[in-house]
Symmetry: C2
Subunit: 251 residues, 2 copies
DNA sequence: ACATATTTGTTCGTATGTATC
DNA sequence: CGATACATACGAACAAATATG
């Protein structure tokens, strides 16, 4: 096992950048707050010093590192946002206290016939009209997630309009007579970001997205929402709450 | 937003391979069971046909695609293993029925003083002796996860020996008088694989790992195990169970 | 059996990017 | 900052296998 692999389709400088990023998030350089010198890094990865410099340059551009001439390379530690997932998860409430500013931007919405997976998740017949809403969520001016959610269009005819005035999914559900709903299932996977995601979340190629696929339902089991959310993996982690009783507050 | 980005440190053929992999797992080619022709793909990604062929070659090597001269490129659909996470998650039981053969390999084990994060998770003083066990789990001859777990060495003095004869964590806990334990917390994140992980899980550079950090405790809240598991993201997805009562069986 | 279109497989040459020394 | 080696990407042409009528 060597530290870097050639002919893998990934330039050495990028492999090294990825590894430095992992090492930082693993807390490897916590004691010093800075990286070892370029020559030492070059020795450690068994590459030329120029290659290390390319890696550092890209991390600098990403905002992970800050280089000071003659002093060294410092870590601009960016802790990950912690996004809780549980039976009573509410998006906004979950991020409360972790960020200064938070913003949701409704990018697009259409009413369309339900595809097979959407119909199954919402327990509707295939082809039934559903609202699809695409939204990007931003914390402290950095995009953190891109969500696509579907709802029964017949049951929630003007959901989008109400949502636009209230700015909250939970509040909008309340308007439609749903005072409580719970998470039925959450499926989590990780992928390389698609070009669309790279654009939406302002990532660079090779970046990772954490994807959650979730179904929310009323207490009697009636499905109300199906959503697919992609998080920028280097900005977010997911915290699963297993406690039997969960009251995390509300949005 | 273009489909592929040049000069990003990631070879075009690899970006395209990543995108084809995502498209397959999104079910984009489900109807036909095969990919469009090389020329069409080349047009779609705005690259030379050779570049598409390189991407296909790497996916072929991964076992994702199967190519037949004169006929086309077919999908060897490999659905992801679904790994359930819940209050009563047991590793082996969760994968039951999804694979033909399953194997756990204890790679290494040491007794060491607890580091700060380990001590906090197990609610022990920093520096207290803990067992650390590294194991790799394989399904149908393909490695799916690499786990590192820590336990209180004073409470479970010869845990490793017992584990080796029983081959099951749950059964070993039973021997130590613990007939039931529950998942207290699970933290999920995604990263580029470290060189160690690339080696353990037989991945190629740029690959993604889904990492879970979990704490198990007895019913009275006493911590018994802290684990950090890395899953090969392209082989596994995580399914969060939110139901209030969970009895998923036992290992 | 045959001709044709389609699809993958191979071989040139050339230009540019990456990495080392 | 060169000089060198090799990987990456493109373009064009041709070969081999398959499908169709």
């Amino acid at each position: 096992m060597s530290l870097v692999e050639r002919h893998s389709g990934i330039a050495l400088w990028r492999q090294i950048a990825d590894q430095i990023r992992v090492a930082i998030s693993a807390g490897e350089f916590d004691g010093l707050g800075m990286l070892p010198g370029e020559v030492e890094l070059a020795k450690r990865f068994a590459v030329n010093r120029h290659t290390v410099r390319s890696a550092i340059a890209s991390l600098k551009k990403e905002g992970v590192l800050r280089v000071e001439q003659g002093r060294g390379t410092f870590i601009d530690r960016r802790t990950r946002l912690r996004f809780p997932v549980g039976r009573r998860t509410r998006f906004t409430a979950g991020l409360a206290g972790q960020t200064q500013t938070r913003q949701g931007l409704l990018k697009a919405h259409v009413t369309e016939p339900a595809s097979k997976p959407v119909a199954e998740a919402l327990q509707l017949p295939i082809g039934a009209p559903v609202h699809r809403m695409d939204a990007i969520s931003t914390a402290d001016a950095v995009p953190v997630s891109s969500a696509r959610r579907w709802l029964d269009a017949e049951r929630f005819p003007d959901f989008v309009d109400v949502y636009r005035t209230l700015g909250s999914v939970t509040a909008t559900f309340n308007r439609f007579g749903i005072d409580d709903y719970v998470r039925v299932s959450t499926r989590i996977s990780a992928h390389h970001a698609s070009p669309q995601m790279l654009d939406d979340l302002q990532l660079s190629p090779g970046a990772i997205v954490l994807q959650t696929e979730a179904v929310n339902a009323e207490l009697d089991g009636t499905r109300v929402e199906y959503s697919k959310t992609s998080f920028a993996a280097d900005r977010v982690e997911i915290d699963v709450d297993h406690s039997a009783r969960q009251f995390e507050g509300d949005e």
